[in-house]
Amino acid sequence: MTKKRGHFMIFLLLAPALLITLTFYLVPGILTGAMSFTNMDHRLTWNFVGFSNYVAMFKDTILSRVFWNTILYVFGTLLLFNVTFGLLIALATSYIAERHGEKPSLFFRALWLLPRFTPPIVYGVIWLWILDPTRNGLLNGVLNWFGQKPVSWISEFPMAVIVLTNGVIGASFGMILFYSAITSISREYNWAAAVDGAGWLHRIRYVTLPLIRWPLLFVTAYQTLSLLTSYEYILILTGGGPFYKTTVWSLYAYNEAFGGYYASYRFGYATALTLGLVIVSIIASVIYWRVFRFREMMSEPKIEVI
């Protein structure tokens, strides 16, 4: 086949994806940029107002609260669950796999993976029951057993609730990555450590952890970005409340646009808010590109025939 015809075939194969991507990324991307300079509302009229949305962001007292909420939520979830808890489960299940075979280990890993594949609203239902403020819920049911008064978990500890609920899902990402990193460490390292006199804990401290520091770093970096742009479970469980206590940046933007309670259809302001997130995510992508040597993933094809 000639080169020209070959390139045409490549184009044909790529065309559907290109078309879809253009329609759903490029066009909305440009629209978002434009909308952030308007005061567009539910009537969808283009009324340009210059930088006033951006100026408003700096005057928005709620936004500064939202900013700190976001920091707390992202790093709290990340450090407690996505990294630490994910690592603990990976270590524990790899220990179980080593001594007692793959089956019990897989059971625990599958159990922790399940929330990630549960429809968000069903996952929400489960937590709404666990945290129910009346005696019908799990926690208050148990408290009642011991003769204690029920607690309104969601309204009294809203931040803890959203960190916990997102963390239980987030832990599985680290778990899977760490588990495969741990189990792909050459058996000879573990044997050498055993002969050198290391028990399991010493082995983890001196051999396992140093050898999986790249996956550790990757999960930390990658999940920071994921958490920054996730708001679905918060929307379901607290809706951002009570009174903005659990409103993170992306949820604030969503509520400004679509939230029925606090404001609605302030599209101009909401798009301006989201552009802040875009800048952060682009910077992060570039850093990943550099740090994690994504270039290596795009090694040149070894066949030049088309």
């Binding site: 044997w191 050198d196 140093p210």
Partner: protein, 366 residues
């Protein structure tokens, strides 16, 4: 230091028998080599000595102490892996100090001992490097130092030379032997390379499919192989092994191989052999245990040169007798041409005979 005794040792993985009923006495202060093709169970055996695998049946004794169930850290063994398994994130010093740190040896003593051992293996100037910045030979020395630094009672080496190039291999072979003798440490070495085994071992245990074939000093493996497997596995180029049967004609006895080759039975073997008339036998002669001459001799065979193959200092002369081939090793400077007819003189005392049925040696010489 310790002597090690294996008693009826068996290890199975699922339905696969990796080590099958092996009994061995590994003497104190000597080098014992476990030799065999890949998959013969030699590494499994080594890992059972280290305590990483637990035997399915049988016992392991260090001196008189039964060590089944004793974890590796209590066995005081040093182990050098084929891949060296140096911790990539630690410097050479930290790698070697690691076992001492885990034993909570005081810092000063750790430093002294690491320096002492690195002097012995000659890597004193590499202490700050990481494994990734060193050559295979250097990594090998570090691994050896890490194994030796805790004064082990038993040193275990798993294919220690296989990742080195040919030249370094010879150097390291000598080096390991020197260090071993300096410390007088009981050593078990696993290898698939017979040259390595013969040069380094005081005793060699040959294994095949988990079963012990022969356990003897290396020279005996070559001179007195216990069975066909050992005879064929040892020696390079390999021994000529020919199916044969005994024929007696005009009061002279021959080993008849195929339709055209007849090897005269040496007089000292006659007694032992005659009772085997009519039974399946295998005759074995090493290529280097024959010479080529123009003149006839008492027990010589006349043959026509089929092919000559130059092997450095020697040449291998290939004779064909119908479907049977016989290869003779001669010095490279001996003029031999294809098609030439010569007399092959087997060294009478070096003829081996095996029972075809159970492949064991039939003792012939006195």
């Amino acid at each position: 230091m310790a002597n090690v005794r294996l008693k009826n040792l068996t290890k199975t993985f699922g339905s696969v028998v990796a080590v099958d009923n092996v009994s061995l006495d590994i003497p104190d202060g000597k080098v014992t080599v476990l030799l065999g093709p890949s998959g013969c169970g030699k590494t499994t055996l080594l890992l059972m000595l280290a305590g990483i695998y637990q035997p399915t049946h049988g016992e392991v004794y260090f001196d008189d102490v039964m060590v089944n169930g004793i974890p590796p850290k209590l066995r005081n063994v040093g182990l050098v892996f084929q891949s060296y398994a140096l911790y990539p994130h630690m410097t050479v010093f930290d790698n070697i100090a690691f076992p001492l740190r885990l034993q909570k040896v005081p810092k000063d003593e750790i430093r002294d001992r690491v320096h002492a051992i690195t002097k012995v293996v000659q890597i004193s100037d590499l202490l700050k490097r990481k494994p990734g910045q060193m050559s295979g030979g250097q990594q090998q020395r570090v691994a050896l130092a890490r194994a030796l630094v805790k004064n082990p009672d038993l040193l275990l080496l798993d294919e220690p030379l296989s990742n080195l190039d040919a030249r370094l291999r010879i150097e390291t072979r000598v080096e390991i032997k020197r260090i071993q003798q300096e410390f007088g440490i009981t050593t078990v070495l696993v290898t698939h390379d017979q040259v390595e085994a013969v040069t380094m071992a005081d005793n060699v245990a040959v294994l095949k499919k988990g079963v012990l074939q022969q356990y003897s000093p290396p020279e005996e493996l070559l001179l007195k192989p216990d069975n066909i497997f050992v005879a064929s596995f040892m020696g390079d180029p390999p021994m000529n092994l020919l199916d044969t049967e005994l024929v007696v004609r005009d009061d002279r006895a021959f080993f008849k191989c195929g339709s055209e080759l007849e090897i005269p039975v040496p007089p000292e073997a006659r007694e032992a052999v005659l009772s085997r008339t009519g039974k399946g036998l295998v005759i074995g002669i090493r290529p280097e245990n024959m010479s080529l001459k123009e003149e006839e001799g008492d027990y010589a065979i006349r043959g026509k040169v089929f092919m000559v193959e130059l092997l450095g200092r020697d040449k291998l002369v290939d004779f064909r007798f119908g479907e049977v081939a016989l290869r003779v090793l001669v010095p490279a400077d001996l003029p031999v041409n294809t098609g030439e007819e010569l007399w092959i003189h087997p060294h009478q005392s070096r003829i081996h005979l095996f029972d075809k049925e159970n492949s064991e040696t039939i003792p012939i010489a006195v």
